[in-house]
Symmetry: C2
Subunit: 221 residues, 2 copies
DNA sequence: TATCTTACTGACCAGTCAGTCAGTAATGGA
DNA sequence: TCCATTACTGACTGACTGGTCAGTAAGATA
């Protein structure tokens, strides 16, 4: 009779899959509870293992956090850079494409977690901060700068764009996204994601000033 | 001989000053360490009292945090509203004035702490979150909306400004400020505060698109 | 000076959690 | 089927901290 004598496998040995699973779990749990408030017990449970296992793959809670940030940040930038390299068309078109792509990426649940974490926990981690500055922010700004420089050279953009786009466009989008994640539930007339990206493009390209008609046909936002 | 028998007053009784001092200390310490990472011992020491004293004036760590947020947020909005009421001139002038004033206010050290805290800790405090949404964000947006509506009516602003200014201008400024606080030290060519506000105004009013001068040439798409 | 009130202190308690490690069980090889 | 290897478990520990409270001393009153 098999009733009492079920050995019932308690776990599976899958050393190759564990690190990945732990990093994913870490993103979820850190993302919704913050670094300090998360216990490794929770992360372990979310990854389907016990706490001890975490320490087989990561030296400490810090180390886990650091690895998680690095993992989730590389891909996006590389995609963006590839897109820029392959693009044929006006700089304005390229910039618009990049803004739309970034907006789409930011609205993903994991990216919401990620940006929240980076904004709130980075001050506590000077090392990660430095890494982030050099390998994410500077790199992203460089990418935007080359696009803008091309656009200025071709006469599409004003020279002021150089001081505007690389710093301000990312800030604008990150914070709008942050506010949406934080207060979206409380705001019954929050604009849709689609409406909001159109407004962003409208602001970035044309600003708010009303202009005398000037008979020129501008692209509409 | 007075050598051994110095009683040396250990503390002073100043019940009226304590709450204020504790709130200031709380802002400083919470601001640089985050909510979870700060101990009440630290806050107490920063205020020059012992831990027990904190509990004479605030019911809990939560309560202290909540009181600190409320204290530091009311003043600014009221000032901004007063400025708007008293203004005589174009809407564009008023908006520019408001942007400059907000930028100046944000760059104060206490405000840097405050905005960092709000952005990172609010998700953990649903009650404060709701309070903040209703009494800070909505109120601020309403103020900006009335300015923009006036500007659209007078023909100064495009109608799109209504979907742009109330949400995007604050987001832009808050996040730029956040980035400056976080990475300013690492960035040797960070623009000055003055240069940056000019860029903000340039973006908000005119965008980045190069425009053909008046009615002469029209090309571009 | 003696007495009273109460602002303030700091040792203490109970709960929490990062990190450890002795032991257990999954798996591959003989 | 037994053995060797090692991925994995989970009870445990030591350090820490939010919150308490019995006691201390500042200052007021007379």
């Amino acid at each position: 009779m098999p009733g009492t004598s079920k050995p019932a496998r308690r776990f599976r040995r899958r050393p190759e899959a564990r690190p990945e699973e732990l990093l994913d779990a870490a993103l979820t749990v850190f993302g919704e509870r913050g670094y300090r408030a998360t216990t490794l017990e929770e992360v372990a449970r979310a990854a389907g293992v016990s706490k001890g296992t975490v320490y087989l793959y990561f030296a400490s809670k810090d180390d886990l956090f650091r690895a998680m940030v690095e993992k989730n940040v590389i891909g996006m930038l590389e995609m963006a850079e590839a897109r820029a390299r392959e693009h044929t068309g006006t700089s304005a078109d390229l910039l618009e494409t990049m803004i739309r792509a970034m907006w789409r990426a930011l609205s993903q649940a994991e990216m919401v977690c990620m940006t929240r974490l980076v904004q709130s926990e980075l001050p506590q981690f000077p090392e990660i901060q430095r890494y982030y500055w050099e390998n994410v922010i500077q790199r992203h700004r460089r990418l935007l700068r080359t696009i803008v420089e091309r656009g200025i050279a071709s006469g599409e953009f004003r020279p002021e764009a150089l001081a505007i786009v690389p710093t301000m466009v990312p800030s604008l989008m990150l914070h709008l996204n942050h506010v949406r994640a934080l207060f979206g539930g409380l705001d019954p007339d929050a604009p849709t994601l689609e409406a909001q990206v159109e407004s962003i493009l409208s602001l970035v390209f044309d600003g708010i000033r009303n202009r005398p008609i000037a008979a020129s046909k501008q692209k509409k936002g």
